[in-house]
Amino acid sequence: MRLVAATVYALRIPFVESFRHSASDRRWSDSVVVRVRDDAGHEGYGEGTPRPYVTGETVETMVDHIAHELWPRVAACEFPEGAGLADISALVPDTRLAGAIAPHATRAAVEIAIVDCHLRRTARSLGAVLPPRRARVTYSGVITAGPIERAARHARQMRAVGLAHVKVKVGFDDDVARITAVREALGPGVSLRLDANGAWTFERAVDVLDAVAPLGIAAVEQPLPRGPVSELARLRQATTVPVMADESVVTLGDADALIAEKAVDFLNVRLSKCGGITRSLAIAARAFDAGVGVQIGSQVGETAILSAAGRHVIATLREVAFAEGSFGTLLLAEDVSVESIRFGHRGEASVLTGPGLGIRVIEERLRQRAVAVRELTAER
């Protein structure tokens, strides 16, 4: 298989509700979708969500990096017909981007698009190469920032939807009151996690966690900013709440360092952040071997494309402690696929079985929602 053309769509899809995140104010999703086309006219879609505070990428650098670095190199590749997932992925190069930890959103978008296209060529599902170990997966709800009353209202709504796992964003002045209100609204039967997005200092983390541990907290995600692994390890010793790394684990090297220092109980593996499907699987495998739990996370504002890829990864892994994503139109004013990716009651969603990622992307909608479209062709 050779690729002959690609289209890069910089999307801006409004969120159903505006919300705050400890690292930014978000009113629409910033997501970049890549469509590749092969020499036989098959197409594949991939997506990455560049976040300056996660990988150091922006929409602009991502579009640029695809056009100038990744596309020319993958367009020059011959992807062998019988190649497996790992072989395909290995042909997507690792590149560097000044100022970024790694241009992983960029790589994820390109890798996923090529994998989707390659599978569609032979009408195979991603599930054929990543065999699902379960027929359905169960997602967590995520309560974003905003006034406590709103957080509690969202918690009640999640309870009404029957969610078994909920995560609440923290890192504000009112964290203890916030977590208490959310726990009260959820009732005792729902598993509750925290995500500080690196907003706490060591002392603040210990104080808040001491105060809320009796409420039953399944994990705290990224309590401290990405930085020395030893600090996270020290915090893990200082609290009874299990610690999860998110922003601290972007690369396989990050994962190895966290594991070696016994700094974490869980790793949050996200496809866009970690550079695509195979990189994410590699980090998850490293975690399993070390007895560290895995969360397959998502990017707030991802479309059905990243959620579909995530669904396959969640379904195929031996053990997934927590899964996130597939919010679809619960979060986005409109999604981009014919099929709804959104989870249903109890956060459950079925494994996807259609060709490639298992969804049909509505190209016209990408164009409607794009603030920039870049057409690329192979030069030969």
């Binding site: 104010d25 009640r156 029957g162 099929e339 989870f343």
Partner: protein
């Protein structure tokens, strides 16, 4: 949530009123009324209104199937009215929306809008259910229908006048708006009573019902439907 200072119906009505204000104070709505919207924005708005309501008969029929006895009569009346079967001279409401498109010079857009309306209904049918049973699904759907009636009773006259003044849509093509500004005052009141009856009949607690109602009426629910590119104001 605190309902101690009011009945469930008055709490719901206050929520409706807040959502109507979200719409009518939005920059997009004000631009329509001030005549500052571009002609493309007026066209998109008209198309979105048609898309949002073209399949109302199907939704009402679904709700009638779940109607509590105390609200079945008014729901049936609404359905027949929507179908243009209440009086001899009436037209089905979807036809009034088609008249709107034609009168606005958007007849050529009709096939695409009909297809989008069909796709919206298809999604309602095939999307995984968020709730555990039809009891909750029906409450969410009824909330949305009643909320739109409530909003239209307050805003559709204004919308019709704006389209007449600034987009030069001829008055006969605006019948859908004039009709809803008149009848929906009555509908909206019956609708609130119907919601209350539904909640009682299906044995919801007030808190349980309000949770689902609030979820159905997330911020800018109307603006979201009428202005597809609507972006919520920044979090205060």
């Amino acid at each position: 949530m605190n309902t101690s200072h009011g009945t469930l119906a008055s709490t719901i009505e206050a929520l409706f009123a807040r959502r109507v204000a979200d719409l009518t104070t939005s920059a997009e709505f004000r631009a329509l009324e001030d005549g500052r919207a571009t002609s493309a924005q007026y066209d998109a708005f008209i198309e979105n209104v048609a898309r949002a309501h073209l399949r109302s008969p199907q939704l009402l029929a679904f709700l009638y199937a779940l109607a509590p006895p105390a609200a079945a009569g008014t729901l049936l009346e609404n359905l027949l009215e929507e179908l243009g079967r209440e009086h001899e001279s009436d037209r089905p409401h979807p036809d009034l929306l088609r008249d709107l498109l034609t009168g606005a010079g958007l007849a050529h857009r009709r096939p695409a809008i009909e297809a989008e309306a069909d796709d919206d209904i298809r999604r309602i049918v095939v999307d995984p259910l968020l709730y555990g049973s039809l009891r909750e699904v029906g409450l969410a759907a009824l909330t949305e229908i009643v909320a739109f009636e409530y909003m239209l009773s307050r805003a559709s006259g204004r919308i019709g006048r704006a389209l007449f003044a600034h987009r030069r849509v001829p008055a006969p093509a605006l019948a859908w708006f004039t009709h809803h500004s008149e009848v929906d005052i009555r509908h909206a009141e019956q609708g609130l009573a119907g919601l209350d009856a539904y909640v009682r009949y299906y044995g919801f607690s007030d808190d349980e019902a309000l949770t689902i109602i609030e979820m159905a009426l997330r911020e800018n629910v109307f603006a979201r439907r009428y202005f597809r590119d609507f972006v919520s104001p920044a979090v205060a």
